[in-house]
């Protein structure tokens, strides 16, 4: 029990720290754009989606129509559909309280720790995921609060290179999971396609490059097993 809690906390800690500049930015940007402190905090407490929050703050400040705002939010959040689908078989037989709480915490960051074939199996692994996801939620809201209170006195921290820390953490998580040739080819395909999609500003680039890589992996794996 204790081990699951500690491991969840320590595994997520690097990401909790690495997203500090963006949490602060979400808080300070919201206040600068006319949100009350309570509304700014509620964005992180309820919406809890970094990139969607940043885009939404700017859209709300520009008095964008609600439907446009919600469609944009959906486009940015569409990748979470894939995360839910990927862990459906592991989660669907669990009670509602586990499914709803894990779903609420199901960010990119938590999904990064969901790859293990026995993830979410048994109380301890569920608790691990809950602690990891929950600690990220607490950290994100704490950074937002700092941004709300002190944002105007702080310099922009997003250009300090902490985005490299996020990349390094994801590298640390993805490289050990590349154990077969199909997985390697899937990753290379996703890497090349996301670069092309980013350069041409394709909005569904992340999910499209993931699906392309997954298709390559699937085909190679199936081919490997047939021969």
């Amino acid at each position: 029990m204790k081990v699951a809690v500690y491991k969840g906390f320590w595994d997520m800690l690097p990401l909790n720290l690495a997203v500090l500049p963006w949490g602060i930015l979400c808080g300070s940007l919201a206040v600068q754009n006319g949100f009350t402190p309570l509304e700014a905090q509620l964005m992180s407490l309820l919406v809890f989606a970094g990139s969607a929050q940043l885009v939404a703050i700017e859209l709300i400040a520009k008095d964008t129509a609600l439907i446009t705002l919600l469609i944009t939010t959906f486009i940015i959040s569409a990748r979470h559909l894939l995360y839910g689908l990927a862990i459906r078989n592991k989660m669907v037989d669990k009670p509602l309280k586990w499914r709803s709480s894990i779903a609420f915490f199901l960010t990119d960051e938590l999904f990064a720790f969901s790859h293990h074939h026995r993830a979410y199996q048994g109380k301890l692994r569920l608790l691990y995921a809950l602690v990891a996801g929950g600690s990220f939620y607490v950290a994100w809201n704490l950074w937002t609060l700092i941004g709300i209170i002190a944002g105007q006195f702080l310099p922009d921290l997003t250009n300090l290179g902490l985005d490299f820390a996020i990349a390094a953490i994801f590298i640390a998580l993805v490289i050990p999971s590349i154990t077969t040739v199909p997985i390697l080819c899937a990753c290379i395909c996703s890497a090349i396609s996301i670069l092309i999609f980013k350069l041409v500003h394709f909005e569904f680039g992340l999910i499209a490059s993931a699906l392309l890589g997954m298709t390559v992996g699937y085909l190679l794996q199936s081919y490997k097993e047939r021969t």
């Binding site: 919406v47 559909l81 996020i166 390094a168 640390a172």
Partner: protein, 99 residues
């Protein structure tokens, strides 16, 4: 404003919860499960690769790009040690030496 925030929260939660809903009447067969088994490596790759390879909206394939050099080191560390903290801290030190 509160209504707007609540509406957004519904959208983000719905995308996360939809496929965890029991009421959704479908099961994932072995073929789809195999396809999905590649999702985590592919998504993670699609998140970190642009951070490293794209600077100022341009492809930055240069030895003067500290992100690229430090990320290469991170890949080596991750392959060799398979440890989150060694890879992250080790490559971060190199990154700031170059940055």
């Amino acid at each position: 404003m509160i209504t707007t925030i609540l509406a957004m929260a519904c959208v983000t939660f719905a995308t996360r919860y939809l496929f965890l809903a029991k009421q959704l009447p479908f099961t994932i067969g072995p073929k789809l499960q195999r396809f999905l088994s590649f999702s985590a490596p592919c998504v993670l790759t699609a998140i970190w690769v642009p951070i490293v390879f794209i600077q100022d909206e341009q492809l930055a394939l240069s030895v003067h790009n500290p992100y690229l050099i430090a990320a290469t080191f991170a890949v080596i560390l991750a392959y060799r040690f398979k440890n989150l903290y060694i890879t992250t801290l080790g490559s971060l030190v190199l990154f700031y030496l170059l940055y």
